[in-house]
């Protein structure tokens, strides 16, 4: 008793409405007699009968919206069997779909078309424990194209990968396992491993945008334009710490957040007065080195948005309390995420306080267009040799690291600058001599 499943009459339709039945139960129909009008998203269409016989049942009502592939009519009378429906072989799986299916987009197509091989392949669930499944040893490289590409991208020959599925088809997981094995065995390629994690969804994906993107661009531009030299010096800053303590109690500094960074900033301004090369700018286009009149002091600041470098304009003209207020303002504005672009331009030298992260020093990368940057390490109590007594005493000690653009600055100027900063922090009274 063949059934007529609603066909897709318009290339990709998923449903249609039953508009008018042209036949009733019990009617005799010939092949291609019109059975029903249906309305699709595209048009009203007459459906002709694929079968001859007596209408056994209408399986949908007028007005119903029916999914493509749903039986809508049953024909009784087997006298005109569908020629597409040869008697099934005795060994066919009884659970298989009826054979009078339709072609497009759904339905038991392979049953109509033929080969038991295809049908078996499609319908049989994988049974990995099945002992009689031949091991896929000799057939090379059975893998879907995306898996092949994945393997190729990671330098893996799919033929080397052992498939876990008895079908012998190499899956992405198989390639991943192969990669992991290679990783473990010492043939590691970390980059591949990372890609793999990303591919397998174990890694978070963050679009490169905003501050991250600009930072990256700036760092690449700087690192591959300016030849960096980094020098460092370890210095006893106990006197600076004393000064910080004293200033915190000073009325003039009541509204200023006095930190060692403030003293460093002042020391940088003073040292730049003596060695202005450290904030001179290499102008490649004009083929000249530009010495700015004043210090635009950049303060590298970690914010929720990422690394920002607000600039204290004319920092060298400020008193210590003015400088402290300016830095405090910029830093808090930055942490609130409210820095305007203008507040981040005009820098001629940058201080980055990596010490707040608990590290001793680093090799900072210049802000593009600048020729010097100073990294201040953590200020810790460390054993120090007292030069007067030759005794080891506990002191506040830090490490300063200064990178400079060797196109502008030679070791002589760079070293002098760094030594000056160190001397000022070691003995702030020396500021009187600048």
């Amino acid at each position: 008793m063949p059934e007529f499943a609603l066909p897709d009459v318009g290339e990709g339709l998923t449903e249609a409405e039953i508009v008018t039945w042209r036949v009733a139960e019990g009617d005799e129909v010939q092949v291609n007699d019109v059975l029903v009008d249906i309305e699709t998203a595209k048009s009203v269409v007459e459906l002709p009968s694929p079968f001859a016989g007596r209408v056994g049942a209408l399986l949908a009502n007028e007005g119903d919206t029916v999914a493509v592939g749903t039986p809508i009519l049953r024909i009784d009378a087997a006298d005109v069997a569908d020629p597409a429906d040869p008697a099934p072989p005795a060994d066919e799986d009884a659970s298989e779909a009826p054979k009078n299916g339709v072609l497009v987009g759904y339905g038991p197509r392979s049953e109509i078309l033929g080969s038991g091989r295809r049908r078996r392949r499609v319908t049989r669930a994988p049974r990995s424990s099945e002992p009689d499944v031949p091991a896929p040893v000799s057939v090379a490289a059975l893998a879907k194209p995306p898996v092949r590409k994945f393997a190729k991208d990671h330098g893996v020959d799919v033929r080397e990968v052992t498939p876990s599925d008895p079908s012998g088809i190499v899956s992405r997981a198989d390639v991943e396992a192969h990669l992991a094995l290679r990783h473990t065995n010492g043939g590691s390629e970390p980059a591949e491993r990372m890609t793999q994690e990303k591919e397998s969804g174990r890694e978070r994906r963050v679009p490169i945008a905003g501050v991250r993107k600009r930072t990256a661009e700036a760092m690449v531009q700087s690192a591959f334009t300016a030849p960096h030299v980094t020098e460092w010096v370890t210095v006893d800053v106990s006197a600076t710490m004393d000064l910080v303590d004293r200033l915190r109690g000073d009325r003039e500094f009541a509204d200023v957040k006095v930190t060692p960074t403030l003293i460093v900033a002042k020391a940088v301004c003073l040292a730049l007065r003596r060695t202005p090369d450290l904030h001179a700018r290499w102008n490649d286009e004009a083929q000249e080195i530009v010495f700015p009149e004043h210090v635009g002091l950049g303060i590298a600041t970690a914010t929720d948005r990422g690394l920002l470098v607000p600039v204290v304009e004319s920092a060298d003209t400020m008193s210590l309390s003015e400088l402290g207020r300016a830095i405090g303002e910029l830093v808090s504005t930055g942490r609130e995420g409210k820095l305007q672009p203008a507040q981040m331009t005009g820098g001629t030298f940058t201080i980055t306080n990596v010490g707040v992260f608990g590290v001793d020093a680093g090799t900072p990368i210049l802000n593009p267009g600048q020729s010097g940057i100073l990294a201040v390490g953590a200020i810790n109590r460390r054993p120090w040799v007292d030069e007067a007594t030759d005794a080891i005493v506990p002191r506040w000690v830090t490490t300063l690291a200064c990178s400079f653009d060797h196109r502008v600055v030679d070791g002589e100027q760079g070293s002098r600058f760094l030594a000056d900063v160190a001397a000022l922090l070691s003995d702030p009274v020396r500021a009187l001599t600048f």
Partner: protein
């Protein structure tokens, strides 16, 4: 500026005579430019059979789509005379480059209609040998086949297969195209090459008035046949619903091509009575009145009227009808039995010498199939 979006009155400004040898009321006349005195009743009976069987192939396939057996079908209803008339004018050594709608030409060339069903069922990968019937694979890309035909015709020139006054040896190509295709750059290029090389090719344009939903007025301001003169060859406008005229005009053009006389553009004025394809609803862009007017010009009815007046018997017509019914039943059965394509065939017919990369892929496919067989065993 606003473009006028309705057809302009008098859009087809030029005058171009329409060749008609059998009027819609079944009256036959002759035209000395396109001689058909040799065409007798028996031959016209044969064409009548061709027309009826072509229409049955087409309507049966359309119904098979509605049964859910085909993904798509582009009906040729109403265009049978243009296809059969031109198709029967071809000689065995000629080569036809068709579109996807030229089922009647395929039939005339001896292509099994089941192969056409396979194309639209997705079981035929286009792997039949075009040389078997000198009938190319139906071209989906609009107008591209005109270049193929022109290139083939230029090949005929290089092979020296033209101009020997030998009807068994001289050959021509015919490119089928529609009115919409005439707006394609490919077609213009084909016209240029064909004209400049005097290639033995006939461009047979079935002007069925619509490019899907776009009316003829959007393709041209002059009769399509008139286009040819700009390229430097002859254009002929023929009643595309008149199988006698289509035959005579095409035969004359093909012989001119075989004789070395160069290309001809034939505009067969016809009407697509059905939808563009089974996915299309023509009621959205044309009126029932218009379709009705063309029903009166049906290409089969006029031949039947003529044959009845010439003495063809009811038995003849009954036999053709019975043959058509049998063909319909055979097609339904053949459609259901179309075999699944062998994927490995994908590698079989493109390269003469298969590149190593493709050979490796083919071997993988074969190995996969073998594994599949083992898995099913």
């Amino acid at each position: 500026m606003t473009l006028p979006m309705t057809p302009q009155p008098g859009a087809l400004a030029g005058e171009h005579e329409l060749v008609q040898l059998l009027s819609p009321d079944g009256t036959r006349r002759h035209d000395p430019r396109f001689p058909d005195d040799d065409v007798e009743r028996e031959e016209v009976e044969g064409w009548y059979r061709d027309l009826v069987l072509t229409r049955r192939i087409d309507t049966e396939a359309f119904a098979l789509q509605r049964h859910g057996e085909l993904g798509l079908w582009p009906p040729a209803l109403g265009q049978e005379a243009a296809q059969v008339g031109s198709g029967r004018a071809l000689r065995p050594q000629d080569f036809a480059f068709p579109t996807y709608r030229d089922h009647g030409v395929a039939y005339c060339r001896g292509v099994d209609p089941a192969n056409l069903l396979g194309l639209f069922r997705g079981t035929e990968l286009g792997s039949w040998d075009p040389q078997d019937h000198r009938y190319g694979l139906p071209q989906i890309i609009i107008g591209a086949q005109t270049l193929h035909a022109t290139g083939y015709a230029m090949g005929l020139l290089l092979d020296g297969a033209v101009g020997h006054d030998d009807p068994e040896r001289d050959a021509a190509a015919i490119a089928y195209l529609g009115d919409g295709a005439t707006s394609q750059g490919d077609v213009a290029e084909a016209f240029v090459w064909a004209a400049s090389y005097q290639a033995p090719v006939v461009f047979f344009c079935q002007n069925n008035q619509y490019a899907i939903s776009v009316p003829l007025e959007r393709q041209t301001r002059v009769p399509i046949a008139q286009r040819a003169s700009g390229f430097g060859f002859e254009g002929v406008r023929v009643d595309g619903n008149d199988v006698l005229a289509c035959y005579a005009v095409t035969r004359t053009a093909l012989q001119k091509a075989r004789d070395g006389g160069g290309p001809t553009l034939i505009e067969a004025v016809t009407y697509r009575m059905g939808a563009h394809t089974t996915s299309d609803d023509p009621a959205r862009y044309r009126t029932a009145d218009e379709t009705e007017q063309w029903t009166a010009k049906d290409p089969i009815a006029r031949v039947r009227t003529f044959l009845e007046s010439e003495g063809s018997t009811p038995e003849f017509f009954g036999a053709v009808e019975a043959e058509a019914d049998a063909l319909g039943a055979r097609l339904r059965e053949a459609c259901a039995r179309l075999p699944e394509p062998d994927l490995a065939d994908l590698f079989s017919f493109v390269h003469t010498d298969l590149p190593p990369e493709l050979a490796a892929q083919r071997d993988d496919v074969v190995a996969w199939q073998a594994l599949d067989e083992r898995g099913a065993a």
